[in-house]
Amino acid sequence: MLHPLPAETVFEARARAKRNTVLLFALLGLIYMGLFGLMGSAAHFIIASEVKRRSVPDFSLLVFSCSAAAGLILSVFQIISARGKNLDELLSAIQTVPADPKDAYHKVFLNLVAEAEAATNIRPIRPVIIPSPGSNAFSVEGAGGQTAIGVTEGLLVHLNRAELSAVLAHEAAHLANGDSRLMTIAVALLQSFEVVQNTASKGRIRGRAALISVVVMILSAVGSFVARILAMAISRQRELVADSHGVQMCKDPLALAQALHKISEGYRGSISVPQEFGSAFILNPAMSAFDEEEGILPDLLATHPPVAARLEGLLRWAKAELKTVVENTKIPVAKIIGNQPQAAGQKFFVYQEGDWKGPWTEDQILPMNLIKPSTWICPEGSQEVVQALEHPALGRRLTAGASDKGKHLCPRCMIGLGAKTYEGANIRHCGACGGHLLEKGVMERLVARRDETFRQEAVAKAKAWRSSATHDLQKSCLFPAIQCPLCRGPMAKVFHSDLTAVTVDRCVNSACGAIWCDAGELETIQILVENAAG
């Protein structure tokens, strides 16, 4: 039982793991009732020994069964209180956000959840996202049978469609088998012992009562330890059921093997979720040292079977070797592309600080953050001086793609922001100053994604930024505070993170939470985060 997946078919494996669950639950129930019975009998014995001369028997079946029944009633209360949690509470404890149907990556996830609905006939399954660059997936069921499947941003980036589909099939299998409910019951039994232990430790500490409370404490401590081991064993069996059932659904054991390998080898990361949710995930998010070790203690206390053992079974079903998986899941080397060649074309002089500077080409001027729409420019070889916005070619570039003209204005240049798709997400950008406006939650997606290749100069700039000590006090002095283009509220200057030390402007209205990045800041953040992560 402790060494899962010997040579057997998917169907046999699923049936055996199911049988094991039933056995483990029966064992858990017996031990539970037995220990509560023992507690009652011990208390009875201690009281009886005090009034020795009366003919009180040392052991009474009635006392034993009454205390076992009392334990049962306690567990029922525990189960009811644990099952009362509704889905919204559970999801907010895991800190998920809804998926965005307009985002290319999220759209694939939404489609996959719809496929899981079709496969299991569970409707609806709520798709949610954990905004973390780590890789993991989970499924939960709340009160009234409401279900949800969630994945991290990182998972959507690192797995291909087939691998994602296999992971979702695994999670859908958990839902179809009601594993969330099973684990709730197992954990409720475990917690009953803890309740008794706490109550006993608060009892009186003198005379017979003290002796009784010590005995009860010892027994319940033993009980909670044994129950924990059994609950973890049940959790591991349910993972095996979900692996085999999921493979039956998606018919692609190799994809699940690749997904597990990818997550465990390269992109796992750790996600901070409350410990009791650990067994809801496809791989334990806390990543304890026990997970991958062999031996008695790891075997007893891990929530999930070791990845190596799970892979072994999956590979047998796929009739493939580990070599294939390793080959298929090689981490691509980050690409950096060369500097932009000097583009020929019309050059412009720019009027800056009381002097004419340049000439530069369009492609040179725009990234330099030199001109605003009102800046005076003069095309080389002509005497005509116009404002940048009025020059046909430059003006077109400045307002490039500005679809919502006049609605959302660049906080620096006050011209309409253009909409564009960047790494699958919809963002707004200013054609003039090169700043980007990200709606709430989009930054977390972009730092997880790897679509964009960066230019050498941008990478060099980011590295120089990291090694420089004078992190952006200058900016706070130079750039005035701005208004949020979306909700018109004030924006505050905040560090994106300690890691990057890039200052961005974040809308203080927490419902809006938009982020404004001035030119180059988004790239710097991405390069620093992705370098650190890879």
Partner: protein, 185 residues
Amino acid sequence: MFMIITAVSVGILALVLVYGVLTYNRLVGYRVECDNGWSQIDVQLKRRHDLIPNLVETVKGVMNFEKETLTKVMEARSKAMGAGSMDRRMKAEGEISGLLGRLMAVWENYPDLKSNQNARALQEELVTTENRIAYSRGHYNDVVSNFNTLVQQFPSNFVASIGKFSARQFFTVPEPERANPQVKF
């Protein structure tokens, strides 16, 4: 003696009646499940019908892209939409599945389609729709199999024939053409 015989036969009759009612209700339950299962497939098939004109529109600009196959898909689509009988409809839908599978197989060979954002979004929609149809079909066939077993098994077949329940047809798709698509560069 007579009393005993009467009591026993009344008892047996009562048991038969109870069995009949329970079986009838189970049959009704399964039939509802079958109907639900079918309507789920129907939703996905309609979704695919809606995607096809979109597909033709998106890829028609791409030079030499399987013009013949596209015409055939459109024909099969109109056949499926106008089909009177279940048999005809399944045949037409199977044809669409085969043709779309062929298109998806050659899709990757066209750089124009790979780089076009609309085409990529459309490809994702087509893939997910095919998967949803396959999954819904699996589910429908499962419930049909439960229903048919009860309809045909002894002794529930008596209840089924009294209640006019008849076995359902499975949703099968003819094996798609095995021939490899011919691609010219």
